[in-house]
Amino acid sequence: MGAADAEPTDGALVERARHGDPAAFSGLVRRHYRAAYLVALGQLGNPMDAEDASQDAFVRALEHLDDCRDPDRFVGWLLRIVRNRAHNLRDYLRVREATDIDETPVAGPSRTDRDEERAALGQRLTAALAKLNEVQRAVVILHDVEGYRHREIAVTLGISEGMARQHLFGARKMLRNVLGDHAVEEYFRE
């Protein structure tokens, strides 16, 4: 517990980052990159685009850090920026896709069966995440991936604890419906 307690809060890191401390900003990136990436992935459905959008969102967040009114709720504020960046990128990609006439697929490096399976699973999970609404997606990522408690999710996203529970229940149900019941567990059971 002692070591965990020594971890600086988001509020403390935001305050230091506001004064240009690279270590503090790096701490925020390391702490929240996964959630930012998964939220973007759910919206964009492509790992490369999700990486672009989430990286862009962190830079944008730093530029507008003074607008973050409650630094202890930084992650909720950040995820809103991620959603906006992903939304903009998706619109841009749609326009570009419509104007591209010919795009020759580039051959990638050879993959093992295991890589193929993992990639296929990743695609299914991504497609399943895309079925959720924005709040459901944020709740299931914060709870099941980041390990947040309902109270923390409620504070972070500005919703009630009851709503956080409801969204989590709905999100899991939807994911299982889309993915099939045991596909994910069986895959990870070596």
Binding site: G20, D21, F169
Partner: protein, 125 residues
């Protein structure tokens, strides 16, 4: 089929931090892009302008309070000043201030034509 519909769904296949080397590259890429802004903030946080900027909100709040109190005091003063209502009303309907003053001061004595035309003081004949 859904025996445990509310069990967590394992999303670890999507976790971008599974590969530490890749995560390091990503963090570094973000820090590289953020470097100019971090430098700007370091410069800004040490100058006198930053010090002044820090006082901007409290000073604006104090100014707003002073403005509201001042407006309140002025309105109160106007309300208790004798003759102010008549003057304000006559001004509002377009009667010259001087004429209104005569009416308010002495209602039964008319000003001379010269006083009305040239603004001369009323004679006490």
């Amino acid at each position: 089929m859904n025996d445990r519909p509310n069990d967590p769904v394992d999303l670890s296949a999507l976790d971008p931090t599974r590969d530490p080397a890749r995560l390091e590259r990503t963090v570094q890429a973000i820090l590289d892009r953020a470097a100019p802004e971090l430098a700007r903030r370091r410069r800004g946080s040490t100058g006198i302008l930053a010090e002044l900027a820090g006082w901007r909100r409290p000073v604006l709040a104090a100014a707003a309070v002073v403005l509201v109190l001042g407006a309140g005091l002025l309105a109160g003063y106007e309300a208790i000043r004798p003759g102010s209502e008549e003057t304000a009303l006559t001004e509002a309907i377009g009667v010259p201030r001087q004429l209104a003053g005569w009416v308010a001061a002495d209602g039964d004595r008319l000003p001379s034509a010269a006083a009305v035309l040239f603004g001369e003081p009323t004679s006490n004949e």
